[in-house]
Subunit: 218 residues, 2 copies
DNA sequence: TGCAATTTTGCAGAGCCTGCAAAGAAGTCT
DNA sequence: AGACTTCTTTGCAGGCTCTGCAAAATTGCA
């Protein structure tokens, strides 16, 4: 998969990675507001000006791993067999991305930082939005739909991105103890069923249940 | 609905509106990059410092009408009858928001500006994301689900926001000639059906179509 | 080794944004 | 009305962001 790169490209990738890591680390230590571009650049051993050759701002540097993950979602989708049902492809790439890779803990810490800061959320959503547009094109090609006329590919791409966000958020709120792949499958199943409204306790039943729990003699 | 406000609050609302309008107008005239906070403030007749008392940056001022629309979506949802099926409520508030109000043309122009600039998209998505979280709480209360444990309310809220974005985007790409409420209903119907994969043209038909478009003599 | 392409860096300059304290306007008493 | 309280506006200072430009350093290749 990884093609051989010259020294130049390897150094660029290393610098980019160093900057992104430094940004994340400093944001964890001092809070997002407490970290300056100067500090990030110094920590990565390059000049401030060089930082801006790689990222337009510190937000982008911090969320870079998440942006990369979104890209992985996209390339993963493009790499699925062309005759696979779309929802199977979506499920497969989602599971690929959330399966603990080598640096799972770092990603979780990063997610917590990002969620706590609106400017980072904005930056992340923007990247996800771009990914979504490209994913819609891939899905359109795969399903024989027209992305300039049909809602379908956009809806599927939107669901994919949205599901990613929603499941991860709920998972983080639960302390990360739940089974994330299971959560994703649950979300997918609810979608495929058209998100039916769950049964609500009727007033009568509700009263009955209340009576039961309130009256031990029942 | 509108409560009587003192002179103070009326002036504040007027200033905020003037700033937002000035921001949009200047962005249309000179492009987003070409407008400064100084210019916006001057155009609204207040000092630069006062601008920052109302908005943290020009992005927020420009997308303010869209943020307000998202809030309207939320309050509309909260105002629906409690025993109405959730999807009916969602459909109703979406239709309310997209039904041409007094300033429809301005909103469309604004949407075009926003879509063309990543920083504005980020700002808009961030506002939409906050709305979505609150909408999830409303939906949870209405369906008897638990927003800290159940995916359902988050998925419904996510679908609502996502549908809004996707339909408006496709509508804008089509030049605004399509029937937007109809588009929304179509999206809703596809969701309720679980977004089934559309029938793909058979290889034979595909090949035939390719041959037609590739061979002008055909 | 020497040349061409690429990357890094410093500098200058425009702009953004916040805290602070003084001045001004609005609302509220007697 | 007059005085007092509360809120809003404003200027200023200061630090941070980001971009274009051109020189210096580094890498790739013949």
């Amino acid at each position: 998969m990884t093609v051989e790169m010259g020294l130049r490209e390897r150094k660029k990738a290393a610098t980019r990675d160093a900057l992104s890591r430094a940004a994340t680390r400093l944001a964890l230590e001092h809070g997002v507001e407490g970290v300056t571009v100067d500090a990030i650049a110094a920590s990565a051993g390059v000049s401030t000006r060089t930082f801006h050759n790689y990222f337009p701002g510190k937000e982008e540097a911090i969320v870079a791993p998440l942006t990369d993950a979104a890209r992985a979602l996209l390339t993963g989708l493009a790499g699925r067999p062309a005759d696979e049902p779309v929802w199977d492809s979506v499920r497969a790439v989602l599971h690929e991305v959330i399966t603990p890779p080598d640096r799972f803990g770092e990603t979780v810490a990063l997610l917590r930082i990002v969620r706590a800061d609106p400017s980072l959320v904005a930056s992340q959503l923007c990247g996800l939005g771009q990914m979504q547009a490209e994913a819609a094109a891939v899905i359109a090609a795969r399903t024989g739909t027209d992305p300039t006329r049909d809602l379908y590919p956009h809806l599927v791409a939107g669901v994919m991105g949205m599901m990613m966000r929603v499941t991860v958020n709920l998972w983080l709120d639960g302390g990360g103890v739940a089974d994330l792949p299971e959560l994703v499958d649950s979300a997918l199943a609810q979608f495929r069923a058209g998100l039916p409204e769950p049964d609500r306790p009727t007033p009568g039943r509700e009263a009955a249940l209340a009576a039961v729990s309130a009256d031990p003699s029942g």
